[in-house]
Symmetry: C2
Subunit: 323 residues, 2 copies
């Protein structure tokens, strides 16, 4: 297989902590997403040539930017497994097209983008599992813990359940044809580390765990049955949402507005501040996104970005030259 | 519809707290099970005429035996809903064919038997939801809390997930054709109230809940896919089994023996001491039941009853006169 000189990949945003599925359930969006370009270099190691779209917030040191960490991990995995040679180094360009610290898996998208770009340069020498492992190295470096519910759907597309972290086992769940997602990203910041700390320090009653177990089982059943009403009823989180809701001004009112407008469930994505809701048509999803943005504005004075549409079925991918 | 003078019903044993599904996932067995006979009486209210097979442990006061409590609740529901008349009272005979406090849903079976017997006397006037509600009144009286993962599969058969307790919503899950269950009931006692207390008093880390969420989602997916290997991997409980295992002498070794012999998962049923394992053939299930009984004997000096076979697809039922 000829090794390309230069590649461009797209890695999508993702919803994580989907409803009752804290750390185990994620979903890939069609937009927004990051682009990563990579080319072979005669200088050893990974260089980050440029980062755009980050308002200057990200580091170009490849040991301190997830795109570089994941790319480096991918090269190391290749060198460990393969006897074939490769050029000494890789240059990367990262184009952020999604907000940082938004709850939409920004760091996961950049991690997956870095890992996938290297794999495309290698002619696809490494498999999907290695892509996930390398991307998780990036994700872990910024989040301080392993949670794969952004990285995995970013790689695979669709809706993904993580059965177990050790050993890691992923299950792609069926996505009903009619399912549409609405997302609103209000312009406020949640410190991910703080959002994770309040969950990690909390001790839960068995009844709280039981509530999520019932809902998670129902959510999975709903996807297999293609029952969107049941799916919506199962978007319910007794464990984490109550702890994190206070971190996002206007969340409670925005969620209520979505439910009042017929949303099939509504909750925080990741550690927030982004909020998702589901619908069964494009128009309803777009309407919900708009209503949620309006409510964040009315209640908390926040501007928002909105997205709506189908679940991303492909996951991260190489961008063809004629696109 | 003619009202019968006398009926006989069978209510099966059930596995509850199935693997990761504490309080939300139950399964109906074909054996053992309780028989309840009922007939109309001119004396008002519910009388328990006889209880057999309980070694004298159960009360014949209808307000203190679940069969009477559930039957009384069913009559009250009928009187509230219907304008039709009925004879003033009901006499009940309870024939226990399963061990008490075994973790196999003995009280649920008697509760369901009492409620179903009354409904059959009423010509099936009340629906399945009312049957469940009435049986739960009995179950709740002895367990001190609402948990429906014995009562519901006892009524419906199959494998049942309880999405939510308030409002109660039940989901029947697909049962793969090849699935076989092996059960061993070692002759030791676990005090249900104590087993529930140690779980209710414990506070859990989010990571413990996350572990069960991933496994429960995988278990439900496995049933929909008919993937018995995945089903077996998902029989894993980080929340409750570690707390209750010490209450059952020999459990750890017995579980290991089952897994070593190729069981598709193994765990405690209910609050124990019964232990279940899964297999894909009748012979393997029977072999597993025997091995588990042997191990309980070797390690803890306990005699055991064993059962193996298919999942009960019908649930509680009227016994026809020619059976």
């Amino acid at each position: 297989m000829p090794i390309p000189e230069r590649v461009r990949v797209h890695a999508p945003a993702t919803l994580s902590n989907l409803g009752p599925g804290f750390d185990v359930l994620g979903l890939a969006l069609n937009e927004p997403g990051d682009y990563v370009e990579a080319e072979w270099s005669d200088s050893p190691g990974v260089e980050i040539m440029e980062v755009r779209g980050d308002d200057g917030q990200l580091n170009c040191d490849p040991t301190r930017n997830v795109v570089g960490i994941a790319a480096t991990a991918m090269l190391a995995a290749h060198d460990a497994d393969e006897t074939t040679s490769r050029p000494p180094g890789v240059r990367l360009w990262l184009e952020k097209q999604m907000p940082l610290a938004s709850g939409l898996g920004s760091s996961a998208a950049s991690s997956v983008g870095g890992a996938l770009a290297v794999n495309e340069l290698l002619g696809g020498a490494l498999d999907r599992d290695q892509l996930i492992v390398s991307a998780l190295e990036g994700e872990q470096a910024v989040s301080g813990g392993i949670h794969a519910d952004n990285v995995v759907p970013c790689v695979t597309g669709g809706i993904v359940l993580i059965r177990s972290y050790s050993p890691m086992e992923l299950l792609s769940l069926p996505v009903p044809d009619a399912l549409r997602v609405a997302v609103v990203h209000p312009h406020t910041s949640v410190v991910t580390a703080e959002a994770r700390r309040i969950v990690a320090e909390r001790r839960f009653r068995i009844t709280e765990a039981v509530a999520n177990l019932g809902q998670l089982g129902a959510l999975v059943t709903a996807l297999h049955r293609g029952d969107l009403e049941l799916f919506g009823r199962a978007i319910s989180d007794a464990l984490v949402e109550p702890l994190r809701a206070p971190l996002v001004p206007g969340f409670v009112e925005t969620k209520q507005a979505a439910l009042d407008a017929g949303a099939l469930g509504c909750s925080l994505s990741g550690s927030g501040p982004s909020v998702f809701a589901f619908a069964a048509t494009d128009d309803h999803a777009a309407d919900l996104a708009g209503r949620m943005a309006d409510r964040f504005s009315e209640v908390a004075g926040l501007d928002s970005d909105t997205y709506s549409g189908k679940v991303n079925a492909r996951g991260a991918r190489k961008v063809e030259e004629d696109e």
